[in-house]
């Protein structure tokens, strides 16, 4: 297992570099998603997207 990872990723420089870049992107996407979910959960009902549906159909209730 460890040798397989070593052989595929760490052996050659360009695979290592690619793995770092791909890993960074993947981590950022995943982390952002999770933290945004945490944020939305913490501020449920307070944000514009939570109350937008009340006003978007009516349009001219102002």
């Amino acid at each position: 297992m460890a040798t397989a990872i070593y052989n595929t990723l760490f052996r050659r420089n360009w695979t290592m570099l690619g793995a770092v870049f791909v890993g960074a992107f993947a981590f950022e996407i995943g982390y952002d998603n999770v933290m945004n979910k945490v944020w939305d959960n913490n501020n449920r009902g307070r944000q514009w997207k939570d109350i937008r549906h009340k006003y978007v159909e009516g349009g001219d209730d102002e």
Binding site: Y31, N43, W48, I51, K54, Y55, D60
Partner: protein, 324 residues
């Protein structure tokens, strides 16, 4: 002024210190030269004098620097705003956008007759307070100058989303003239621009007492408000129960309106707050993980150093002759 006072204190202090040294010197020399056992009276006098000088200099110093000097009376300073537990001021809480919407309604129907909000364009209202259609309709209610046409004339056109909210007066002079000489401040950054921020604005709006306290001098054309420095404010109380009718059915009490409009003004001052706090939350989580990792790595790397033991093993001295 500062320089003068510094000079004053050092000079006076130096003079006093010289005097003290003189006295103590004299006391010491007299006690040592004369036979001390014979005249305890002189010793006593010396001790009493030294004590008096010490106590006096402390008292004098306290008189100069001890008591706090207030540059203004409490009335001139104004009552410090009471802290309220604003939810949107918590670290990981966004604005309550329903409240922002109510607050914008209060601003438009009450505050906007005197106060401008000149740094807020209609486009920023979209997606946080109004929908696109509402904002466009609102912008079109007002007229704005066009670019000069072929003849160089400037015509009027209905507002667009990129236009800024219209000011109630053409300029500051007109605003002063209309308000008895007092200039209603622009509210775009008012929450950032006042000590106490949201608390100050809320307290100011709701803090008008029914009548000023006995003996208080209220100038002509001014109103008594304890939270305004000097307590005389040109703005009269504007928020009364039921001045506004909220579209979402919230009872429009004075404090409810003041709370909503304060939160709205906070939004106007820092519309980026929601994004900033969300980013801040992410940064704090990542940096705390990284910090924990760095602490662990340091301990790991230093483990050999911290756990080593140095022992002095003296050589056996049996057969070795001591060196000369």
């Amino acid at each position: 002024m500062l320089a003068r006072s510094c000079l004053r204190s050092t000079r006076a202090f130096a003079g006093l210190r010289n005097g003290a040294v003189h006295i103590s010197k004299r006391a010491a020399s007299s006690s040592s030269s004369g036979s001390a056992a014979e005249s305890p009276l002189r010793l006593n006098i010396a001790a009493a004098a030294a004590t008096t000088v010490a106590a006096g200099s402390i008292a004098w110093y306290y008189h100069l620097y001890g008591p706090t000097a207030d540059a203004s009376t409490p009335a001139e300073e104004g009552l410090h705003p009471t802290k309220y537990p604003w939810v949107h001021e918590q670290w990981f809480k966004s604005f309550d956008h329903q409240a922002l919407r109510r607050g914008f309604q209060v601003y438009r129907e009450v505050c906007a007759s005197c106060h401008s909000l000149s740094r807020v364009p209609y486009r920023t209202l979209v997606g946080s307070v109004l929908t696109v259609d509402e904002a466009k309709a609102l912008a079109e209610e007002n007229e704005y100058d066009t670019e000069p046409n072929d003849q160089g004339d400037i015509e009027k056109r209905p507002g667009k989303l990129s236009d800024y909210l219209p000011a109630p007066y053409a300029n500051d002079e007109a605003a002063r003239f209309a308000n008895n000489g007092a200039l209603p401040p622009d509210l775009s950054l008012i929450v950032k621009a006042r000590h106490g921020g949201c608390d100050y604005v809320f307290n100011l709006l709701t803090g008008y007492p029914d009548e000023p306290p006995a003996g208080a001098q209220v100038g002509e054309g001014l109103n008594f408000n304890p939270y305004f420095p000097g307590t005389g404010i040109a703005m009269a109380r504007v928020l009364f129960d039921g001045v506004v009718e909220y579209e979402d059915g919230t009872p429009a009490t004075t404090s409810q309106m003041a709370k909503d409009v304060t939160e709205f003004l906070n939004w106007a001052a820092e519309p980026e707050m929601d994004d900033r706090k969300r980013m801040g939350m992410k940064v704090l989580v990542v940096t705390s993980v990284l910090f924990a990792m760095s602490v662990w790595v340091k301990r790991y790397k230093w483990a050999w150093l911290k756990s080593r033991k140095i022992v002095y093993d003296p050589p056996k001295t049996n057969n070795i002759a001591p060196r000369r």
